[in-house]
Symmetry: none
Subunit: 243 residues, 2 copies
């Protein structure tokens, strides 16, 4: 008996205006680069006050749909990249210190995944992990490191928890991580010759899971991610030197 009733909330009239203008833009009646009627004009047309129109336009501007210039007017932007990022992303991108927090949360989730996976992984799933490690070894011999394989390895572990929600949550965090720093991190690995160590880490994690040793798997995962965290911090301070 949860949430049977919808949360009745009086819709603000500024929201109504927002949806109307969004429709106009998506229908092409307001084309990119075109001028939106002035705030006073809109207020008159819609029969509302200017502040209401103004709030609507602020929201549209925050969504990246329009752009206002004082004295100039309000213009429709190309909606090629008008996707409003989710709250977490917008904060992490702006504040590098958040990356450290993010890495830490990921650490908690992944160690937990390793722990659960060691309890429940099927033989088939363990075999998948084994193959991924073998693939890593093959690439490592050439001095290469494929972030794609790395990601698939961690994903496979969480799959082996047989917990849909864990998979979903970790996937969300992992996605953020990937879009923000993964690339730089991979380059860093290759340059600094950490590949052997990384390979060893992954092999140990795989073996602890295969041995059905939850605590060992968690420990191995923790050590691996501690390295990642430290290197990331190093990357951060390097970047600060540039700016």
């Amino acid at each position: 008996m949860t949430n049977v009733f919808k949360p009745i909330r009086p819709k603000k009239i500024s929201e109504e205006i927002v949806t109307q203008i969004k429709v106009l833009i998506s229908e092409g009646q307001l084309k990119p680069g075109e001028r939106v009627p002035s705030e006073r004009e809109l207020a008159a047309l819609l029969g509302v006050s200017r502040p209401s129109v103004r709030e609507a336009i602020m929201v549209l501007e925050a969504m990246g749909l329009v752009e206002s210039r004082q004295g100039g007017g309000t213009f429709v932007r190309s909606l090629t990249e008008s996707t409003l990022a989710d709250p977490l992303t917008s904060l992490v991108e702006k504040n590098p210190r958040m990356l450290h927090h993010l890495a830490e949360v990921r650490m908690g989730l992944e160690t937990w995944s390793a722990y659960l996976a060691a309890q429940r992984a099927t033989d088939e799933e363990i075999e998948t992990l084994r193959k991924l490690v073998a693939e890593m070894e093959r690439q490592a011999e050439d001095g290469g490191w494929d972030a794609e394989i790395d990601t698939r390895f961690h994903y496979a572990i969480t799959t082996a928890t047989h917990n849909t929600i864990q998979l979903h949550v970790l996937n969300t965090i992992q996605g953020l991580f990937h879009t923000t720093i993964m690339v730089a991190l991979t380059e860093f690995y290759q340059k600094e010759g950490y590949i052997k160590m990384l390979l060893e880490h992954h092999r140990t994690i795989m073996e602890r899971i295969a041995a059905r040793d939850p605590d060992g798997a968690r420990q191995a995962m923790a050590e691996h991610l501690e390295l990642v965290r430290d290197k990331m911090q190093q990357l951060e301070s390097d970047n600060q030197l540039l700016s």
Copy 2:
């Protein structure tokens, strides 16, 4: 050689307010669920007019960082609410078996919180935990168990991690948990006389954190949540008999 010159734009003061509040949220000075000062108050604090504050809040609301209710106030949302809670809610509602998964994810997050809190909790935060346990003891003497105090205890631990993202993620999961099963679980406790055991659990967790013993704190939290998980499973099978 494009865009050598930056587009000179006079920064709107509402944008300035937006960034200020974003910083407060990302630094954890404004925690999820907390009230942000009223519009009039903010206007006075910042020395600007209310419309400016209002526009800033509209933008923040559009970004999903805060939520305003007329007459109520403006509240900080969990950053992961839109990305995690909504999809997960639909999952859990369709498949009650998911509750078990949800409890397990919470277990992973909370054990991690306990681990981190034992490393970083300030003396003041430890004192808060101690007071909460004392309050539990007082109520337990009358054979009562207050879910509110329980929740605040766990919340305080995650606050002591000093990790904003961990706080937001756990808050989202916790919220899901609360709306689905928390009430039934509390009744269950009271009937079955588990209160003494619960009290002991919480005291141990608090003591391990106070002793700066990360592994011990994690272990204590794990044992506590294992009990919760088992009792929940018991509840589920009972409910199945009814349906």
